[in-house]
Symmetry: C2
Subunit: 337 residues, 2 copies
């Protein structure tokens, strides 16, 4: 095999498989780190090396067979995941479905060339310029459509989606109020991400704090998370306020009270509630890449990343993501380069 310097594959590699189907929030013991042979590419396949592995909530659904778009996996199977990788034969940087492993044999036709604006870290392709960013962009620009001077609330405000959504709403002229878990995230939301105000949902009086932060009511709300937050925010929605329910429920842990919306509350507030799934908004991708790429290149959008070192850190990082402990887009650095 003709590979660039430093790109010779080793004889064996590490990979992470599902040990046991998780119940509720995944535990580290639900996964197992294995040593395995580096796969040999079949016809039409190429060997890639994983550099930056993206951890995403949809993976939770594949572990128990509830994900709409991805087939379920079984114990012993490689955990799926998207990554920034390099093709060994050519050295090209690509995005690929590598799974949680150091090397993967993938169909050449499935690769996307990596593309980020000059000066922007390549990992932005997994976050602000990837599916989380498209989610934020479509939810805010197509469905929420914040007006200058209006008040927008974002829950999971410091996560991969929320951190971009809050910024896009602020750039549209809205007052932006973050809902986040804990004082440190609230500090980050205001100081680092530029939210107007932040409310700690772990505070038992968080709804009062939210009401104080939204004296004119809530005109737009991007919801990710549980039912208590949803109902607390809905009580403050202004007539005609636009609410976007984001994320597929089958990707969530199967614990806690399922979020439910009293129909009377929707009527009384005259809210418009949108069910949102990012797959419906692929048509926006060119506009999204141009606009958000421009914001990143100009430094007007500074997304947060929650980077974990080494493939072996993936299970704990995934547990953190599914517990809402991450701040920013969760990335596992599998290799440096």
């Amino acid at each position: 095999m003709n590979t660039p310097a430093g790109m010779q594959p080793p004889a064996s590699q590490r990979r992470i498989v599902l040990a046991e189907r998780p119940a509720g929030v995944p535990r580290e013991e639900d996964f197992r780190l294995e040593t395995a042979e580096v796969p040999r590419p079949g016809p039409g396949e190429v060997l890639v090396r994983t550099f930056d592995l993206s951890l995403d909530p949809y993976v939770r659904g594949t572990l128990t067979g509830r994900n709409l778009g991805h087939p379920p996996i079984a114990p012993g199977d490689l955990v799926p995941g998207r990554a920034i990788a390099r093709v060994l034969e050519t050295g090209a940087w690509v995005e690929a479905e590598t799974g949680w492993q150091e090397y993967a044999a993938v169909p050449a036709s499935s690769l996307s060339p990596l593309s980020v604006p000059p000066g922007v870290p390549r990992t932005a392709a997994l976050g602000a310029l990837g599916t989380p960013g498209l989610t934020a962009y479509a939810a805010v620009t197509r469905l929420m459509r914040p007006a200058a001077g209006g008040t927008v609330v974002v829950s999971s405000a410091t996560g991969g989606v929320g951190s971009v959504a809050g910024r896009l709403a602020a750039l549209a002229g809205a007052r932006t109020v973050a809902i986040a878990g804990g004082p440190e995230k609230c500090r980050v939301a205001v100081e680092r991400l530029g939210y107007t105000a932040a409310v700690d949902r772990h505070d038992p009086r968080w709804t009062e704090a939210l009401a104080a932060a939204c004296p004119d009511g809530v005109d737009g709300y991007l919801h990710m998370g549980g039912g208590a937050v949803l109902e607390g925010v809905m009580n403050l929605v202004s007539p005609g306020g636009r609410v976007v329910l984001c994320g597929l429920p089958e990707n969530a842990n199967e614990v806690g009270t399922p979020a439910s919306l009293p129909a009377g509350l929707i009527m009384r507030t005259r809210a418009v509630v949108h069910g949102f799934v990012v797959y419906d908004h692929e048509d926006l991708r060119p506009d999204f890449l141009r606009e958000v790429g421009g914001l990143l290149a100009q430094g007007r959008l500074n997304p947060l990343e929650d980077v974990h070192e080494g493939l072996e850190s993936a299970p704990a990082a995934f547990r953190g993501l599914m517990s809402g402990r991450n701040t920013g887009k969760v990335i596992v650095r599998v290799a440096r380069g």
Copy 2:
């Protein structure tokens, strides 16, 4: 007093007052028929004679103090209500807030001149050309926006709002599916109101019947009524389907399970759910009167009326309305003429 022939007020009149605040569906005993003096108009007031009294769900809210727009009443107070009436002094036909009585002294400035197209019964002003019609018009044309060939479902399909909404959706080219209570209403829905199909929500297998009637899913849904119907229809909503929740919950009886929408269902269906209150759509009234007036005059809209004879029939008719037993707009004929 200078009154037209036959318009001399009698010495006394009949009126209906609240006897007891209802719990749940109002009973006839919650009201009391009284003989009282005909009121004397004060400064700026005129005496009107009630002809056609409109019974509307909002009145339920005023009986227990939960209505947003109308002050609550107390036992012994006249029951509020809007009617087609005549001004005794001039003989002019008007719409007025008479309450449930034969004669009322009302501010002259509060009267609206009665206006219906030639050939259309005057009672249309209370139904298809009144608030129920505006409700249907705004919900269908502004929020639901049915497309030709799409499938629209209307619950309470034969009521004052539903009977107009179904027709407007059909005229926009949609397939229309009625949900109604009982086989007789289903027959009326199809034969009289022109729905494509009708489903009896009293049938324990109504959701299967609805699924069969909507093989391509539900693109638009106008919801009035209870939570079981709401969830049953939501399960069939197509991606991007538009759902309008109509009616203020404080106008409903305080019994049964409050309607609730699982947030996961909204996300999975990617529905757009609108909370709807007709007061927000007054700006549409001129368009509504022109368009729906035209349809009525051309005989393309034949709204149903559920007419009860005599003021004394109002309590039973109101109980029927709040039990969903009416077919069409409920009107009490207090006087003929």
